[in-house]
Symmetry: D3
């Protein structure tokens, strides 16, 4: 499961993985061990049993005191926690805005030096699919979820500028075992490449606040990571082998649907916008 | 008080001015009448008595229902409401994040077509004073207040991309009767120029979501409004006549203070960061 | 009529003005005399009687031999000729494509060194009115007329790169005695400013192939002439005094009409597209 | 001949290939079958016998009625037709300007949705060989042929902006069985890569009007396709294996020849410029 | 002689003006007094008698010890000294390279905080006159003099990055009582505007290392100071009143002379390149 | 030792390699033979015995006459000579400033057409390690050595603009048998890639004055060579295999050391700044 080509070395005494019970969190859980002596895992959902060198610290991001405790003794954070789909505003506000402020305040209080932040491609989801976007272009979120992730990136910038806490914001595409539909032929991030991305973000020597898109080496892409070359992320997988099957399975998209033209896909028209 | 050079014409049936009891709100109150049949005024603070063609509708931005009612029948909004200084996170969250979402949701519900949004130069306050910034450069907020205004600009972009509600985000410098200190020689926005700015933002024929810095025609500035030329804002005042007196009154700034070097001035170190 | 502030000096022995019977051509006819010993005038339409130092040489641009003869002994050209509105493709092809090739070939044959070419803002008419465009941005013509003017600019570039013939392409806005409608508040070019523009283009010492937008000093504009600063065009008129009357006279534009949102105005939907 | 790595799937009911008797057209003819149920072939020259699933429809691009008929029932076009070298102006005008207008008008009339347009590197042939050019840089055609291709790109932009017909303009380098001279070490596009390029342009989900340079993965190149990454073109061949032989065969170029310094090579001085 | 509109205030205890016997130095000598308690003047040439509040400290820039002594007790420097025309390499090397290193080392030793450095437009003299250049574009010196000034700007950048000494590099055009020839219609900097430029550079609150072109408000210019807006330089004079006389006096320039086409004028072909 | 994949062909009659006794010079000495009939070698240090087709011409760069003689009969130069570390100013001035002027003057006198100039990444060493820099960004030297290399690049630009002598300036990273420390994981240039780089710079058909960074295909880098794609440099080695060992051997860097954050590493604080 872990990539043998990745260098293995203990870099952190205690590394915190939030959202460890989520889709990507579950994948990263066994893969992050090589980078730390102790891997602290957190989620609101059930985390199962602790393996060797694992600590389980369940917490709700909306609970400032719990998050404060969660960061104690933590050297670095891989923050996969929070809401990761378009949901009702209240849930997004609690987890991705209030919760993220709790996380950074706790990191500041405890002297944590680096955070790898799971942002999302949906911060720029309202660009068209015939535009190539780089991390320096203005954001165009495609919904409340993307809006909350843009907030998170700006918060990370502030904590770097003001308090010297480093962050790499990962604008993750679509991380699944395989691309699921036509859009993911462009946005797919394999689990192995996700591991490479997180590892690069954790170990790059100097990052300040950097933003990098997370996609595999897919032939067709909308994103240009040139300004993030200092992170050293080199994807090695590709959506290409999945293309024929997907194109056979999924009918061509409706040209009159805005989801067809924008990078955010269905997020540009997903609701319940507000409860 | 109002500028006779400004064209006078009724453009809106009902125009809403929020924050009407605040510093800039009080200035705009009499000046906005020429643009509308009815000027609806709102604030949490006392608004005094209604003049002719004024409606007083007090509301707390954190109260979604009140804000929903506030927007009923409104054609356009000049949103000066909310927190306008560095304060505790809770107050900023309520007014500038939760409250702003209430405002845009209400505008969407009632078919309001344009919002002039009082953003702030503090969304880019962590740039140095020897950098010239344009509305297309990445944001670098200097505190929680600036962070909340960056959120507001992104929200405005989202409501334009998704719902066709137009916004002009005004990154207001320092609007006072006169510049108060050395930094304001660069950032000052006279009240007359503030009126010109708001009028231009209200009446420019097509704005989508546009961002424009709000400063008078001061000789030394950090901001380049070239990408906002389509707004048609032409400041006519200058901080220059105030320079000699300010330089005599205020000692040169401490070179070792980060407030001296950054555009945000003292905001880059102001706090009770969190209560 | 001519601007006394303009420097008066004979620069050219024989200057050719094409389209001399057209709207702008009639304005330029008396104003161009100060720059030349002989002003040669051409048009398909009637040119009236020759004044002192004028030569009348009627010609159809589609007639290669006539155009060849027209350029004989000419030092510089102000090319206002050709089709200047959206028309049937055949007329545009003959005058603005075939005819322009005839003009440049004749200039090459006779050693003419500089051409001031009346291009049009319609080469970029499909940009939105909330975008600020510079001469370096990609063209987006709004119809066949704009397309033919883009062809002309490229032809001018070719004749500079290959044969050393200099051109200034003027992307003229709307040149009339006064702005006629809401759009012209942004695009108006007064006749005096048109004269200043042509004079600058004729006399700037080195131009290669340069492109400059032609508008008066209107408060609201969509165009940024920074890359053409070496032409030295400084407009002195403004559409502002006409604003109140126009806004009273013309109802606000229909938001659902693409002509309202794009720089080209009604050109983006004008027909008969093809006969 | 066809690349087994390319996904094979019927995408179009009827695909039109123009210029099918030309150099690149002959190569594409057997390779395009996999993408369509019926491949309609057209040219002025002899097309030989129709193979299975082929339709032969000879037509002269200058004949509007013939081109109108040619597009009937066509879903997408690969337009390799027209003049592809520097020739007399009349021939270029008929095929590449008048003819291309006929093609787009016919596509509009018949509801064709996408055109892959063979443009040329000669639209930017007057850049120097020590400049790296991207599709967003201003054009600098090196002759009448390049000028006509720039016209074609602008026409494509217009039909996208105005009528929603998508085009990918391919600025093809030099497509031959092998590079023939020193310049083609930079510009060579192998036939297999040409197939990949056309396939990508036909099948990329959203293209609007996009421009992409067509060259193999040659070590030395003058072109940067970053803004066209959304097309998904990934060349796999290289001119490198041919280098030693070419350098032995062809003497070093004359430093005083402008063809040596410019990207367009001999096109910058080729001509019967005009008949 | 001094501009009454400039604010007058003592900013520096001791201000050093080098090159005080030179053309621009003589002009600045009486104008700089208002900014300091003591004005120290230096040159290799005769400085005449000291006026009130003046100190005369002759020094040769090539003499490290003399320059070390010269900077003692100095708060800020206006460095007009050194070679200011194309000369033999030895003279340029001694004054503008070795001498400038002496100056910055001495400033470092004595704690001087800001240097206003007379650079030159000749650091970008090999751009053509139809190009508009900003301080961020790569340098293209037109000779050894321009090369030495580019060295000086880079040295200033180094002392800012490494030692925190601030510099404003002034790329001065042509500062004379009036423009002398056609080229100076673009490059002229009046003495009053030179004073405004130096005053702005001395008093702008934060400059790091900034670069600004020094020209009056001439209608035609090749330089864009937008990135230096934070200096606050606003020229008020213009070459325009001198145009007619110059154009009458000086014949049009030879098109075949490279001096005609490049911004550096005759500097692009001036010699003795090396003795 | 030489790369069999490189094309082998005699391009130059006599090629000069300066600094032939230095670190990289020794590596290049046997590798450059394939490109020339005669390889002239020069250095101040001992060059050993001449091999076949080698000429030994010791010279001190500070000696103008010796350098003049050195260039006689030379077609092209690979200039590895001069000071390549931070040293006392006098040594840098003599070799890298005075010496380089001698070299270019001699090349001009003898008609040498191309120089491959060993510049250094230290011309941009004061950028942070989280910034990605391209050859078009302004220089920020990290010391006197980097400053002298910036001088060299500007000199090369001047000799191209004025005299048509072509140069490729190589901003070499760290060329050693293997990366030695954590910083070199980003900056390492293997000897084989150094050969590829020099070969590309010597043989690219048109270079004018081009700048290219010299690093291997390391995963993490700070440099973007897109504007130098016309050189055709394609590195094939990587620092990745050395990473684990280096990270085990070298403790993590001190966050409070400026050498940790800047691209120049320890050069940003290396002394003796001046003797």
């Amino acid at each position: 499961m872990t990539d043998p080509a990745l260098p293995t070395q203990i870099r952190f005494n205690r590394l915190l993985l939030t959202g460890a019970a989520g889709n990507l969190g579950q994948q990263l859980r066994p893969r992050l061990k090589r980078w730390c002596s102790t891997l602290r895992l957190s989620d609101r959902a059930d985390l199962g049993a602790a393996a060797d060198d694992e600590e389980l610290v369940p917490a709700d991001l909306a609970d400032a005191a719990a998050v404060h405790a969660l960061l104690e003794g933590v050297d670095a954070v891989v923050h996969m926690g929070g809401v990761s789909t378009e949901q009702a505003w209240g849930a997004i506000l609690d987890a991705n805005i209030r919760g993220l402020v709790h996380l950074y305040e706790a990191a500041r209080a405890h002297g944590t030096r680096r955070i790898v932040f799971a942002s999302s491609n949906h911060v720029t989801g309202f660009y068209r699919q015939d535009q190539v976007v780089s991390p320096r272009d203005p954001v165009r979120p495609d919904g409340l979820y993307g809006l909350s992730k843009a907030f998170g990136e700006n918060l990370a910038q502030l904590y770097w500028d003001r308090f010297g806490i480093e962050t790499v914001s990962l604008r993750i595409g679509s991380s699944f075992p395989a691309p699921r539909d036509r859009r993911m032929l462009a946005t797919w991030l394999s689990y192995d490449d996700a591991e490479r991305l997180v590892a690069a973000a954790l170990t790059a020597p100097v990052v300040g606040h950097s933003i990098v898109y997370g996609m595999s080496d897919n032939p067709l892409t909308w994103w240009d990571n040139t300004p993030a070359r200092h992170i050293g992320f080199r994807p090695q997988d590709s959506s290409e082998p999945f293309r024929a099957a997907i194109e056979q399975r999924q009918a061509p998209l409706d040209r009159n649907d805005p989801a067809t033209h924008h990078q955010g896909g269905a997020f540009v028209r997903t609701g319940p916008f507000f409860e």
